[in-house]
Symmetry: D2
Subunit: 315 residues, 4 copies
Amino acid sequence: MDIREGKRQDLTPWGEVLSEVEAEVRPRLGEAGAVATYIPALARVPARQFGIALATCDGVEAGAGDADLPFSIQSISKVFTLALAMRALGSRLWERIGREPSGNPFNSLVQLETEKGVPRNPFINAGAIAVADRLVSAFADPKAEILALMSGLCGEPIAFDEEVARSEADTGYRNVALANFMKGFGKLDNDVATVLDVYFHQCALRMSCRQLARAAGFLCRDGRHPRGQDALLSERQARRINALMLTCGTYDAAGEFAFSIGLPCKSGVGGGIIAVVPDRLSLCVWSPALDATGNSLLGRAALEAFAAKTGLSVF
Amino acid sequence: MDIREGKRQDLTPWGEVLSEVEAEVRPRLGEAGAVATYIPALARVPARQFGIALATCDGVEAGAGDADLPFSIQSISKVFTLALAMRALGSRLWERIGREPSGNPFNSLVQLETEKGVPRNPFINAGAIAVADRLVSAFADPKAEILALMSGLCGEPIAFDEEVARSEADTGYRNVALANFMKGFGKLDNDVATVLDVYFHQCALRMSCRQLARAAGFLCRDGRHPRGQDALLSERQARRINALMLTCGTYDAAGEFAFSIGLPCKSGVGGGIIAVVPDRLSLCVWSPALDATGNSLLGRAALEAFAAKTGLSVF
Amino acid sequence: MDIREGKRQDLTPWGEVLSEVEAEVRPRLGEAGAVATYIPALARVPARQFGIALATCDGVEAGAGDADLPFSIQSISKVFTLALAMRALGSRLWERIGREPSGNPFNSLVQLETEKGVPRNPFINAGAIAVADRLVSAFADPKAEILALMSGLCGEPIAFDEEVARSEADTGYRNVALANFMKGFGKLDNDVATVLDVYFHQCALRMSCRQLARAAGFLCRDGRHPRGQDALLSERQARRINALMLTCGTYDAAGEFAFSIGLPCKSGVGGGIIAVVPDRLSLCVWSPALDATGNSLLGRAALEAFAAKTGLSVF
Amino acid sequence: MDIREGKRQDLTPWGEVLSEVEAEVRPRLGEAGAVATYIPALARVPARQFGIALATCDGVEAGAGDADLPFSIQSISKVFTLALAMRALGSRLWERIGREPSGNPFNSLVQLETEKGVPRNPFINAGAIAVADRLVSAFADPKAEILALMSGLCGEPIAFDEEVARSEADTGYRNVALANFMKGFGKLDNDVATVLDVYFHQCALRMSCRQLARAAGFLCRDGRHPRGQDALLSERQARRINALMLTCGTYDAAGEFAFSIGLPCKSGVGGGIIAVVPDRLSLCVWSPALDATGNSLLGRAALEAFAAKTGLSVF
């Protein structure tokens, strides 16, 4: 049985683990938490959904719940555009982006000011916009490049949700502010509108848990492509992305995630979270309702349950 | 040959690795960097010293350079007082201390204000003072308790350097400020002077690389005492300290350390840094000259060399 | 002799005072200080120019130096758009704009964040942009309204420098950032581009010292139009603008201006400063080179000399 | 009739104005607002009290309500210690203290950090502590010097309330923090405890509205002593204190006070506010309940009523 043929491994031991995790958190689906409402397309998503999927380094995949339902990956995309930029630019990428946690969102703005337009890390919005600026410089068609990367990683076509992208553009005043702020410090080389067009599109990628777990596979395989042996990144680069995810991947809850889950994670306001167990597997969980820190409420609970059940932790 | 008998393992493979690391960084001893000068006792320490030591989970120890020279452990002590407080208080400890990275020192003060006297994490000074306050409440003689812990972990007597402690007390205006600030928010239960007396003493512990590597052993052994099988902490607690070290252990360079070294570390302005490879070994490196982030310049270089040579990384 | 006939009063006692002030500061024209360079049209202005003019409540005008040379009034325009908005909206204007000094520019951004998009006062850029938004709501053609006001106050046609306005628009990233930031907080009612078009134009008004001194006349005449008895504003409103100028009119040097000059002032990066002696006269000084606080270096010196010579001060 | 004999001038026209003001605000005595509770001695003061008094430049005094009831002057004392320090040190005083508004209390701490221990102005706590440090350097017995100044200004003995001073010392953690913070930056020359002893005592002065109105007389008389022609300060110095009061005298409401009252004011958390009409009179109002900005709720209302009734304003 080959997962690349689309056959499910949901009854393998991994499938059982995920089903147990689902059983544990599903009763809490009615709990507080609120779906992101800043754009209509996200606000319409029903809150009571939950999916989880994983892909091991040796090719086993498993899923539970709404593992195949596509959702808006939002900030999870920052991991993939970072990988694209690291591959294209190597260490030059870091001339305009830091690698330190930023504390809360409030700090990230203050720091953008005191650090003269250099974002603290590539996972805050300002940092991801700076990465998008690098992609605009590096590629003739950066949006096509992003789609090619994602489709290649998944082995199936991935697309932007153009309605979501348009919505982001129409209402993303704070991102427009951040981009202009950096431009004012001379830290963006390209036209603000072009850069933001890339950024708003990457956030609007639609993917399922299963696809994201598979796509993140290069992070647990020392940079090797999840579908083959080609190196997407060097081992060193892949580990560094994991380090950034652990220290900066979940907004102002990175410390809490490290403390209680102990795995590199990256979340998005669409309710998805990817996680990496180095040399073992990559994982994606999704549930639309968010907690006060902007991370998926049940996604976080599911990752805690998964870590507790399996004992998997980088620590 | 048993390290507990004091016999050296420096010619084992681990000893060779450490000697290679030493050979790589020793030529750089003349480089920039400056010894901490805020108290005379630290300012007098000659900059051109370098030591490194490790202790594996199965009891092998190795060292190179000035591995047996005692130095002022300063903030490295925060790991051990945290362990003491977690053991005594369990999760109640976290009622008054956060677990998030604080960004730069500037932020830590701003955050102490906006978060009404609750320090961001136990490894910034405010957080360690809050931990000391908990120890004053929990123990009749918290300083004796600290000495007992350290001596027990090392299997040999450890002492405070009273001259350093006095110096800290005489010139530690900023720490007095932080403590009074928290007291003003009602976040310290005990007398400011008593709490600071504990804090200034813990910073004044004198230990060698070899002793610190050994003492940190419980962190790579899932909480088990380095000299026996007794649990100092639960596995979960030990892992959480590792997570805190990785996200918050090296001032405003935690992101950089995670990115380029990939191991939980805790540094002190005396020039020491401890590091943990979970399930494998604990490590201590020392060289007094500090870089701009307050971390040992060559200590950091040595840890990078060690990680590169051994491929050890949590990611 | 009537100044409204364009005849000069420069040989009156007031003219002598101004000539003395000019004689005192002109030798310092070579001094440090730098012309604003953020747009080419300002960067081209020769630094070694100095003009000063005043208009008394009873209609006497006097000038010295380059009193009739037009320059870019920049932020001085904020006084006049504020007057326009206060007249149109009364106290409703203050629903979205504060009246407190903002400390340094750094704070103004932090405060915009902590105060959820409500600018601290109408004289910081964010505040003036909020005022422009009110004008866009209140008037069919706000730019025409501004020109009508200024021309009416001066008794001669006043125009925008379209090249400067275009330059501001092309390079005003930080203002675009501020406007989008406020829009993101729901604190601008109109389209960002429309609001900024008004703002960039008001900054691009070209006027001479003599014209500005005359135009500011309503501020020393309890709100009455400088060329007649009509009330532009109520006495109360005029006094309140003076209060705002004194506490917030000169960037982060408002305290210093109050301390050493003691008059309500408003400066612009074009090098102009207007000042008000309530019930006596209004004044404008201009010299393009700026000090570190963004205020005209010699303009400030001239106002200090004027205050010292005349003993005029609100204190 | 001599006011120094205790005879009232309350039936003069000024007395009538004050009585009208009292009649206007007294019905609001039951309104919200809260007495300062941070020390027991202040918390015990009944909220429903109101007094007002003034002293003209030519020696007329008037009062209404509880004009003769002594209260804790708290931060109003900062005006008088500043005068003492300006007289003793001249412009050297400003080497360690700024003259700019600080925005809200939050900013004042941030600015103390970014400006390396130099307080923004002498009326925030940090600034007044810096002034106290200067007094400790300048005078053998600074507390006696303060009492001599106040008694001399009033023409009757003024004393510290030792219970209040002790209370301040016992609970003033934030002031202890500020002083240690500045000491850590090398910006206090004297022992922290000695400096704070002066500061806590100056805050504990007990005076009535009538006494404070009289004592502040030098501020409306160009620096001349209110009981004679001796110069306490130069005209320039007196005006500069008025400028500081207007821009920084009422915490984060200085802009609002300037806007709606238009007079230099200095308030204290004991519920007192002094105000100055240059060349005319000095004024003191008192009512213990405070508004959200820490200024006396009815004191502020009374000053607005006074300004509206008399048309007195520096603008």
